[in-house]
C-alpha cells in the first residue's frame, strides 16, 4: 500500500490510512513504520533530544498543573493517573509521571475509533472531547479507570491525541466503590461506555455531567476528575502546537515516528543485555467465593479459583512472548478482563525494567507481546463478561512476568535488578447516607498507593515503599482520607508482625489500618476492592527457596464494647492482628467478629464498629534456614516477627529478657545451630518427589479434590487452547489420554 514512511507522510489521507500503513509496514519490516535509519537523530542529535525533551516537558507539566486546578482528593493525592501525548494512530510518545502502562489502552481505544469510522460519525474535530472506560472496546482495565481523549490539530491537520486517565472515586455498580468485587456480567460493572464524544469546542456536554450525577455515587468527585483530565489534555494540545511552530510540521511528523523506533531498538538491546533466552513458567491463583452470595444468579453460585498460568518465552531474535495458555476460562464473576486492560498488567515489568535508558513510548510494544487464548479470563469470547475488577488477579500476571524476568536477570548476574515480585493490593470502598440525607460513595486507595517490596537476593524488602504499577508510591495522608470519607477515622496504622513471605531475605511486611466508624448517619455499607485474598497466595512459586507472600485478609469487629474502652482511656488495637489479640485476651468483647480470607460481602457498619485490612505483603528470597540468625534477632527486637516464626520458620532460638519493662531478645547460638542442624536432617528424611508423585497420581486418578479445585482445573481445560493444558496435565500425571476432571 505505502512503500515507506516518507510515502505515508506524503500520501496518507485519513487516520485509517495511517493505521493500516503502520500495521503493514511494521509487520513487514520488523521496524516501526519500516524506519531503517533514524535520519533526524543522526543529522542533529541535540535537536532531536531537545525536541523530545520539550514534548516530555509538556505532558509532565500537564499532570502537575491540572490536578491542582480541579481534581477529587483521589485524583490529586494518588499516583493512579496519567497524561500522555499520542500519535494520530494511537502510539504513545511521552508520558507524565503516574501509572504509565495505561498507555496500552490508548492504542486500543484509538484503534477502535478509527476502525469504526469515528472520523465520519461522530466526526473527529478540533476541540472535540472523547471519553471511555470500556474494557472490550477501549482497553480500560476496569470501569473505575476513566480516559479522556482530545484530538490535536495543526493548520487543519490532525497531528495527535492528548490522552489522560485516572481512577475515579466511584463507578456506579451495584456494589459501591470503584472495584466491585461481585458482578455476574458486565451489566453489573457500573457505568461502562465505549469511546464517546462527550463534548465539543473544549466544553463537556451538559448531558455528560448529568450522566455522572445520575449513574455514580460520587458525582462531584467524578466530575472534578473529568475536568482534571480535560484540563491536562488542553495543556498538552497548546504545548504541542507551540512545539510544532518551533520545529515545523514536517519535522514533527517524522520525528515522532523516529522516537518510537528508537525506543523499540533500545528495548531489543536491553533484552539482550539483561536476559537469557529460554522458557520461564509461572502460575498464580485467586479465590472466587460466590457460593451463597448469588442465589438469585444460579450460574454464578459457585466457589473456585482463577488460575493464571504464564509461560514466558524469550527467543534469540530477541523477542518476548507471554503465553497465557492454561489460564482459566472467563466466568460469571467480577474478575475477568479484556486484552487491552490485561496488557496494562502484562507490561508493568517492561516499563519497570527495560525503559531506564530510553524514552517511554509505544516502542516497547513491538517485540514484547502477550498471548491470551480465546475464552480465557483475559480474553472472554463474549462482550458481556464482567470486568469490574480484573485488577484482582491481573496484578499476579504482572508479577509472574516480572518474576520470570528476575530469573533471567539473576542468571546474568544483575542481582541489583532482582526482586521477588508480588502484586497484592487492597482498597476499601462503599457508600452511605449521612444524617442529613446526603448520599455518597467512596474508595480509599491507601493500600493501592504503596505496598511492600519483595526481597532482593541480597537484602530484605522494604515495607510500604513500592508498587509494581506506578513510579509514584504514595499511600496518601490519613487526614485526607478521613475528610473524604466522613464516618471513617484511623484508629491505627502499623506493619503486621510476621506478615510477609519469609526467606534468607524476607519480603517487606504488609500494612494494616484500623478504620473506626464514628457517627455514620443513616447508613454505611463497605466492602473491599482489591487483588488477592489470603485463601491463596498470589504468586505460586517463591524465589530460590523463599516463600511467596501471603495475600490480604480482613477483620470486621461489630457490635463490640470498643467505644466504651476508648471513653475509659484504655488502649485500643492498631492493626488487624492486634484486634484479634485484644479479643482473644478479653480486652474487647464483640458479638460479631468476622475474619475474611476471601472477599467480604458489603457489610453494614454502625457507630463504634471497626473494619481492618492487612495487605500489601511481599515475598521472600532463599532458604529461611540460611538467614543470618542475628537478622532474625533484629526482627524480633523490632517486633517485626514473632518468637513462633523465629523458631518454626527460621530455626532460631532466642533468649528473652526484660530491661526496664521492655522485652529484648538475644541469640542462643548453640541452640540455634542445633535446631538448624536438626531441621536439615529432618528435611533429608523427607520423601522423594518420585515417591510423592506415585501417591499423588492415585489421588489425581481418583479425582480426590474438593469441588472448587476440580472446577478450577476443568475451567483451565476449556478455553480455546485449554486442550494443550489438559494434555500437559495428563502427561505430567501419566493419565489416560481422555482423562477429565
Amino acid at each position: 500500500m505505502f512503500k515507506d514512511l516518507d510515502d505515508v507522510l506524503k500520501n496518507a489521507k485519513s487516520l485509517k490510512d495511517l493505521l493500516a500503513a503502520r500495521d503493514e509496514l511494521t509487520q513487514k519490516t520488523g521496524t516501526y513504520y519500516g524506519i531503517q535509519e533514524l535520519k533526524l537523530k543522526e543529522e542533529d542529535p541535540l535537536k532531536f533530544e531537545q525536541f523530545y525533551a520539550e514534548l516530555h516537558s509538556v505532558v509532565l507539566r500537564a499532570r502537575e498543573h491540572s490536578r491542582l486546578i480541579t481534581a477529587s482528593p483521589g485524583g490529586r493525592e494518588m499516583g493512579e493517573s496519567l497524561w500522555s501525548l499520542c500519535t494520530p494512530d494511537g502510539d504513545t510518545l511521552a508520558n507524565s509521571l503516574g501509572f504509565s502502562t495505561h498507555m496500552v489502552a490508548y492504542r486500543k481505544a484509538i484503534r477502535f475509533m478509527i476502525e469504526n469510522g469515528y472520523e465520519e460519525n461522530p466526526g473527529i474535530n478540533e476541540g472535540d472531547i472523547f471519553s471511555t472506560d470500556d474494557g472490550n472496546t477501549a482497553g480500560a482495565p476496569h470501569p473505575g479507570d476513566t480516559y479522556t481523549y482530545l484530538p490535536i490539530f495543526f493548520d487543519g491537520e490532525m497531528v495527535g491525541w492528548a490522552a489522560a486517565v485516572n481512577h475515579i472515586m466511584e463507578a456506579g455498580a451495584p456494589v459501591a466503590g470503584s472495584w466491585p468485587g461481585f458482578a455476574v456480567d458486565t451489566t453489573m460493572d457500573g457505568l461502562v461506555f465505549p469511546p464517546m464524544k462527550v463534548g465539543e469546542n473544549y466544553t463537556p456536554a451538559r448531558w455528560w455531567e448529568e450522566l455522572w450525577k445520575a449513574r455514580t455515587r460520587a458525582p462531584v468527585f467524578n466530575i472534578l476528575d473529568d475536568k482534571m483530565r480535560l484540563t491536562g489534555c488542553m495543556y498538552i494540545e497548546q504545548g504541542v502546537k507551540e512545539i510544532i511552530k518551533k520545529y515545523g510540521l514536517d519535522y514533527y511528523k517524522r520525528a515522532i515516528r523516529e522516537v518510537i523506533e528508537e525506543t523499540r531498538r533500545a528495548i531489543v538491546e536491553n533484552i539482550k543485555t539483561l536476559c537469557v533466552p529460554g522458557v520461564y513458567e509461572g502460575t498464580s491463583f485467586r479465590v472466587v467465593k460466590y457460593k451463597g452470595l448469588s442465589q438469585v444468579w444460579p450460574h454464578a453460585d459457585k466457589d473456585f479459583m482463577l488460575h493464571t498460568r504464564m509461560t514466558v518465552r524469550i527467543s534469540p531474535e530477541p523477542k518476548i512472548l507471554g503465553d497465557l495458555t492454561g489460564t482459566s476460562k472467563w466466568d460469571y464473576c467480577a474478575f475477568n478482563g479484556y486484552p487491552g486492560g490485561a496488557d496494562i498488567a502484562f507490561y508493568l515489568p517492561v516499563t519497570g525494567n527495560f525503559l531506564n535508558n530510553t524514552k517511554m513510548t509505544s516502542g516497547l510494544f513491538y517485540d514484547i507481546r502477550s498471548y491470551y487464548p480465546e475464552g480465557c479470563t483475559y480474553n472472554p469470547d463474549t462482550p458481556y463478561a464482567a470486568f469490574s475488577n480484573i485488577w484482582a488477579q491481573s496484578m499476579s500476571m504482572g508479577a509472574l512476568h516480572w518474576n520470570a524476568l528476575t530469573r533471567a536477570f539473576y542468571a546474568r548476574g544483575f542481582l541489583e535488578e532482582c526482586i521477588s515480585c508480588e502484586g497484592d493490593w487492597a482498597g476499601i470502598q462503599g457508600a452511605g447516607t449521612l444524617a442529613n440525607g446526603q448520599q455518597y460513595g467512596f474508595t480509599n486507595f491507601e493500600q493501592v498507593g504503596g505496598v511492600a517490596q519483595g526481597a532482593y537476593p541480597f537484602r530484605d524488602g522494604i515495607p510500604v515503599a513500592w508498587a509494581m504499577w506506578t513510579q509514584l508510591c504514595n499511600i496518601g495522608n490519613q487526614e485526607e482520607w478521613e475528610y473524604l470519607i466522613p464516618p471513617f477515622f484511623y484508629l491505627g496504622r502499623r506493619l503486621v508482625k510476621d506478615f510477609c513471605g519469609h526467606g534468607k531475605y524476607r519480603g517487606g511486611l504488609g500494612l494494616s489500618s484500623v478504620h473506626w466508624i464514628v457517627q455514620p448517619g443513616r447508613d454505611l455499607y463497605i466492602s473491599r476492592g482489591g487483588a488477592g485474598m489470603a485463601q491463596t497466595p498470589f504468586v505460586a512459586i517463591g524465589q530460590c527457596g523463599g516463600y511467596p507472600a501471603p495475600n490480604s485478609w480482613y477483620v470486621a469487629l461489630r457490635n463490640s464494647n470498643l467505644n466504651e474502652k476508648i471513653k475509659e482511656g484504655l488502649p485500643y488495637p492498631r492493626s488487624a492482628d492486634e484486634i484479634l489479640e485484644y479479643v482473644n485476651e478479653g480486652k474487647i468483647e464483640a458479638k460479631d467478629l468476622q475474619i475474611f480470607k476471601a472477599d467480604p460481602p458489603q457489610l453494614r457498619m454502625e457507630d463504634g464498629d471497626v473494619f481492618s485490612d492487612a495487605s500489601g505483603a511481599a515475598g521472600g528470597w532463599g532458604d529461611p534456614l540460611e538467614r543470618d540468625p542475628y537478622m532474625v534477632i533484629n526482627d524480633l527486637n523490632n517486633e517485626w516477627i514473632s518468637e513462633k516464626i523465629a523458631y518454626t520458620c527460621y530455626g532460631v532460638v532466642a533468649k528473652k529478657s526484660s530491661i526496664d519493662g521492655k522485652v529484648r531478645y538475644e541469640l542462643d547460638v548453640e541452640s540455634t545451630e542445633k535446631t538448624r542442624e536438626e531441621r536439615k536432617k529432618a528435611r533429608l528424611s523427607c520423601q522423594s518427589v518420585k515417591d510423592w508423585w506415585m501417591k499423588e497420581r492415585k489421588r489425581v486418578i481418583n479425582k480426590d479434590f474438593i469441588e472448587p479445585v476440580r472446577y478450577t482445573y476443568k475451567s483451565s481445560f476449556s478455553t480455546k487452547d485449554g486442550e494443550k493444558f489438559r494434555q500437559y496435565y495428563v502427561g505430567f500425571w501419566q493419565l489416560d489420554k481422555d482423562f477429565e476432571l
Binding site: 537469557v276 533466552p277 529460554g278 522458557v279 520461564y280 513458567e281 509461572g282 502460575t283 479465590v287 479459583m305 527467543s315 534469540p316 530477541p318 530469573r407 542468571a411 546474568r412 548476574g413 542481582l415 541489583e416 535488578e417 537476593p457 541480597f458 537484602r459 503486621v496 508482625k497 510476621d498 506478615f499 534468607k504 489470603a534 485463601q535 497466595p537 505460586a540 512459586i541 517463591g542 527457596g545 516463600y547 511467596p548 501471603p550 495475600n551 485478609w553 477483620v555 492487612a614 534456614l625 514473632s642 513462633k644 516464626i645 531441621r679 536439615k680 528435611r683 523427607c686 518427589v689 508423585w693 489425581v700 479434590f705 474438593i706 479445585v709 478450577t712 496435565y729 505430567f732 500425571w733
Partner: protein, 189 residues
C-alpha cells in the same frame, strides 16, 4: 545515567549482601556492564567446592554445569549433588515436604488468617537430597503439576548473544525433557 566499571569485588559484595545501599542504587542507575555475566561466572566458580564448569546459575544453589569428566551438561547443587540432564526439571529429583493443614502452614505463614486455605492449596517445599537446603517453594492446589521454573536456551545464548558458542554447541537440543523421567516413573507404577 553513566557507565561504570563493575569489579569482581563489587559483585562478591553484592552477592554477600554487604554492598551499601548507595552502591546498589548506583548499579541500578547505571548502564549495564556487558561483561557482568563472565565476571559473575568467575566469582561463582571460585566459590563452589567442585570444578565442573558453571555454564549458568539457575537459583541460589542450582547451576547448570558441564561435567569435567564426561562433558555432560547437568544441573547441580552447590553441595555437589547432581540432578541430571539440565533439560529435565531438577525439582523432580528433589526431596519434598508438603504442608496441608493450618497447623503445618502456620509455621511458615503467620498470623493464622494469612495462611493459605487447606484443601484449596498446599505448600510444597523442595529440598536438595545432598545437603537438605530448601531450593524451591510452590503454593498450589492439590494435583497441580510441578513447575519447571526456567529452562535456558544455552546454545542460542552463548552463540548468538555472547558470540562465544559452547564447545559442544548443537549437541543438546533445546527442549524440556522432564516427561522422559516421568514416563520412567510410570513404568514402575
Amino acid at each position: 545515567m553513566e557507565k561504570i566499571e563493575v569489579s569482581k569485588e563489587m559483585i562478591k559484595k553484592l552477592m554477600d549482601g554487604v554492598l551499601s545501599d548507595q552502591e546498589v542504587l548506583m548499579l541500578q542507575n547505571s548502564y549495564k556492564d556487558h561483561d557482568r555475566f563472565l565476571k559473575y561466572l568467575e566469582v561463582l566458580q571460585e566459590r563452589v567446592p567442585w570444578d565442573d564448569k558453571i555454564l549458568m546459575r539457575l537459583s541460589e544453589h542450582v547451576y547448570i554445569v558441564q561435567k569435567k569428566d564426561t562433558g555432560e551438561r547437568i544441573s547441580k547443587c552447590t553441595c555437589g549433588y547432581e540432578f541430571g540432564d539440565y533439560r529435565v526439571n531438577w525439582k523432580l529429583n528433589c526431596l519434598i515436604n508438603v504442608r496441608k493443614t493450618i497447623e503445618e502452614m502456620s509455621e511458615v505463614y503467620h498470623p493464622v488468617p494469612a495462611c493459605p486455605e487447606p484443601e484449596w492449596q498446599e505448600i510444597r517445599e523442595f529440598f536438595c537430597p545432598g545437603c537438605g537446603t530448601q531450593l524451591a517453594v510452590e503454593v498450589v492446589p492439590p494435583g497441580y503439576p510441578i513447575l519447571f521454573e526456567f529452562l535456558p536456551d544455552l546454545d542460542s545464548f552463548y552463540k548468538e548473544w555472547l558470540h562465544s558458542p559452547l564447545p559442544d554447541h548443537g549437541k543438546y537440543r533445546f527442549e524440556d525433557k522432564s516427561l522422559t523421567l516421568i514416563e520412567k516413573w510410570s513404568k514402575e507404577v
